[in-house]
């Protein structure tokens, strides 16, 4: 009843407002429809953050640079150089001269202040929509320790990014990957972890054993991976903080690999190879009780859970070549979702749940692509001699993957690409790198 009354009122109000609007002039407004626009990076300005305390100037400069680099790196924004600035931002609280920023076409303006006292670092910022002449959201302040300055810069970037785009950010995140050195036929591999932008690399294992395909836990504090430490490929669980590790499955005479966490952080899905057959199993991390999920005479591997944990996408060559399939998380009948030319592997469900990223091989080339979860709307984002192993940024908008060059001197490196296929760029790493896995946003 009340609902109906409300609806009625709203309708009346709308009609009344409309009538009032219209009666002010001769007739209704001129109506046009715009269906074509442009897609280009949004120009923004980050004047160097104000140093509020003596000695924080260097920190202010570095934080401003990281914020600018984060935003530019998305390809969605373009930094205006400081040399183009007309007005300077005196102090954090001073009024913004919008006209000056409009004149250089800065559509977004980020101001900030940095305050260092002892080991305590405070960073605050404001974001302005220059052309609307108003602040976007309200200012925020982050507090932490001085050595966590990069994370605070990333947090500023995340806030700016999500206010402008309406999507969650991904800058305050990390990537676990395999660091590679040495020639192709004697490559040394070890697990490493770094910030999403390549800063702060730390090694988690030594290079005595081959390690492959690490995957973060949903909370980002543990990593699953495959290691040949025992002489045979076996799955391990490593605590990122303590770097302690333990083997999860130790059935003799089998090889286990391709482990990934379920969204609950308790279940691990992985492959076991035995007697020429590879199938998918699920195991509880604590009890280490394994349950078989597939039982086909073909290769079933590279499983990945849907974010709600109800389904698993995996690859299988049961049809004669590698293709993608989706099955219930408890196993059971699988339906094929990939039907294009070529072979499809390494499916990874996006954190948003709407897309599946994959590796595709066709005509001697490799691609990273995305498709909807029913296999429709396949789009290839990259093409090269060898691209593989996509991983999603926490906001589901960017994909990182391994690209390997060909020939005797072939090297692996990490690249990222927007899911539109734009903004392909290398991720800097000290040595060769492969098998990235992107963490969730850090808390």
């Amino acid at each position: 009843m009340i609902q109906r009354a409300l609806t009625l009122c709203l309708a009346m109000a709308m009609a009344a407002t409309g009538a009032g609007f219209a009666s002010a002039q001769s007739q209704g407004p001129l109506r046009i429809e715009i269906t074509e626009g442009v897609i280009e990076p949004l120009p923004f300005a980050v004047p160097q953050f104000e140093a509020e305390t003596a000695g924080s100037a260097e920190m202010a400069a570095q934080i401003s640079r990281v914020v600018a680099a984060d935003l530019s790196g998305t390809g969605l924004f373009r930094e205006l150089p400081a040399t183009a600035f007309i007005s300077t931002v005196g102090s954090f609280g001073a009024p913004v001269q919008y006209a000056d920023w409009k004149a250089i076409n800065a559509q977004a303006l980020i101001t900030g202040a940095v305050n260092v006292q002892g080991n305590t670092l405070n960073v605050k910022f404001r974001l302005y929509d220059v052309f609307a002449g108003s602040e976007l959201g309200s200012g925020l302040q982050f507090s932490g320790t001085v050595d966590g300055w990069r994370r605070m810069a990333h947090k500023v970037s995340d806030a700016v990014y999500s206010r402008i785009t309406g999507e969650g950010g991904y800058f305050d995140s990390r990537v676990v990957f395999v660091s590679e050195t040495g020639p192709k036929d004697a490559r040394q591999k070890r697990l490493a972890i770094m910030d999403y932008d390549g800063a702060g690399v730390q090694y988690l294992t030594d290079s005595r054993s081959i390690v492959l395909a690490p995957r973060f836990s949903p909370s980002g504090d543990r990593v699953l991976y495959t290691s040949y430490e025992s002489g045979f490929p076996r799955i391990y669980l490593l605590d990122v903080g303590s770097v302690q590790r333990r083997a999860l499955d130790s059935q003799d005479g089998t090889m286990s690999f391709a482990p990934r966490f379920a969204p609950n952080g308790q279940t691990v899905v992985y492959s076991i190879s035995q007697g020429g057959n590879t199938d998918i199993f699920a195991m509880d991390v604590n009890s280490q009780q394994a349950v078989r999920l597939t039982s086909a005479p073909s290769i079933e591997t590279a499983p990945s859970y849907s974010p709600d944990g109800t389904q698993i996408v995996f690859e299988s060559d049961r049809s004669g070549s590698q293709q993608l399939y989706v099955m219930p998380a408890s196993g059971g009948e699988a339906r094929r979702i990939s039907f294009g030319e070529g072979r499809y592997g390494t499916p990874v469900w996006s954190p948003r749940g709407d897309l599946i990223a994959f590796t595709k091989q066709n005509n001697g080339r490799f691609h990273i692509g995305v498709m909807r979860t029913d296999g429709s709307e396949e789009r290839l984002l990259t093409a090269s001699f060898l691209d593989e192993g996509p991983t999603w940024a926490p906001n589901g908008r960017v994909i990182m993957f391994t690209r390997e060059t060909q020939g005797a001197g072939g090297q692996s490196a990490l690249y990222s690409v927007d899911i539109s296929g734009r903004n392909l760029r290398p991720v800097p790493t000290p040595d060769g790198a492969s098998d990235p896995s992107w963490s969730p946003l850090q808390k």
Binding site: R31, P43, S420
Partner: protein
Amino acid sequence: MHAGHYISGVGHLALIGWLLLGDVFAAEPLPIDMTPVSVISQAEYEAMMAAQTGPQSVTEVAQPAAPQEAPQAPDVSPATDQATAQTAPAQSPTPPAEVPPQAAEPAPPQPPRADVSDTAPVLPEPPSEVAVLVPDVSDRPVPRASERVAPEPVAQPEPEATPDEVAQEAIAPSTEGEAVEEPREATAPEAAATEIVTEAEKPAAAPRQSSRPPSRRPDPLPETARVEDTTPAQPTAAAPEPAAAPAAQADKSAINDALAEALGAATPSAPAPAAPQGPPLTSGEREALRVAVSSCWNVGSLSSEALRTIVVVSVGMQPDGKPINASIRLASSSGGSEGAARQAFEAARRAIILCGSKGFDLPQEKFGQWQDIEITFNPERMRNK
């Protein structure tokens, strides 16, 4: 008094307030995702302090410090004295002026291929690889990747002298045939492709497409729908359905329809305006306005949800063809959440202000016809670009 009256009163106030101050509310941190950061508890803070040295707490910066200038920036012509004096190339905020900054920026000029320009430190692709596949490509022009996607392809202006062009030259020959209009330095529009050319779609790189499901891009609306209402015979006052053609309206939300109806019904009773009325705009005049706004409507930074949101934005105009920036408001939206509508509206507002700052090219004698404009921004076709 009945509860219904209260409800009605509150409803009316809220609605009128929303219509008048929609953008003010929109500027507030609606359900912005600050929660994960700002909601952090003392306990969590302590826990994190113990665990690591990351940023731990977040507080809102004291609001009083906010530089609240004039709430709505006056409609200043951006070409202020300062501007002209100091940044000659960038004095106009319209996109064409964006090319010169390339000269000023420390970054190298945008090379045609984004992936090559990224100074891949380790792995430049061997040119031979490309060469092998080239024969598969017909002589149709190869769309070059560009940071900018626009309705009309714009040829990449030849960089003045870029020594490191070599890597890109592999695909250059195929583009040379098209549109070699000598780009005028200061006004050359930014290079644009009609759609995103991903690495995978480069003709040279992926000679044979896999059989992909058809994209959902809809067929363009029939042009006739827009032209209809420009028939000169049609007397202004007799047109009960103003401007927008029914076909274009068909897909809009129920709210829009209701609003349009209300407006339409009110029209006949409206008194004669002071502004020169003139005949309706010709299709050419309307098209010019459409193109002008399109060229500033940048959807590049919109979320995928905002790209599914259609917004109708109303704007009041000055006789000189410039929009009254303070009058720009969100009339209605459909297809997305409130947050998405806000993002979409912000992009639409930027388009109107940006491209209207020099005044839209509209016939003064018909001011009455365009004194109020309602623009529907429909990003459907931009979604897959």
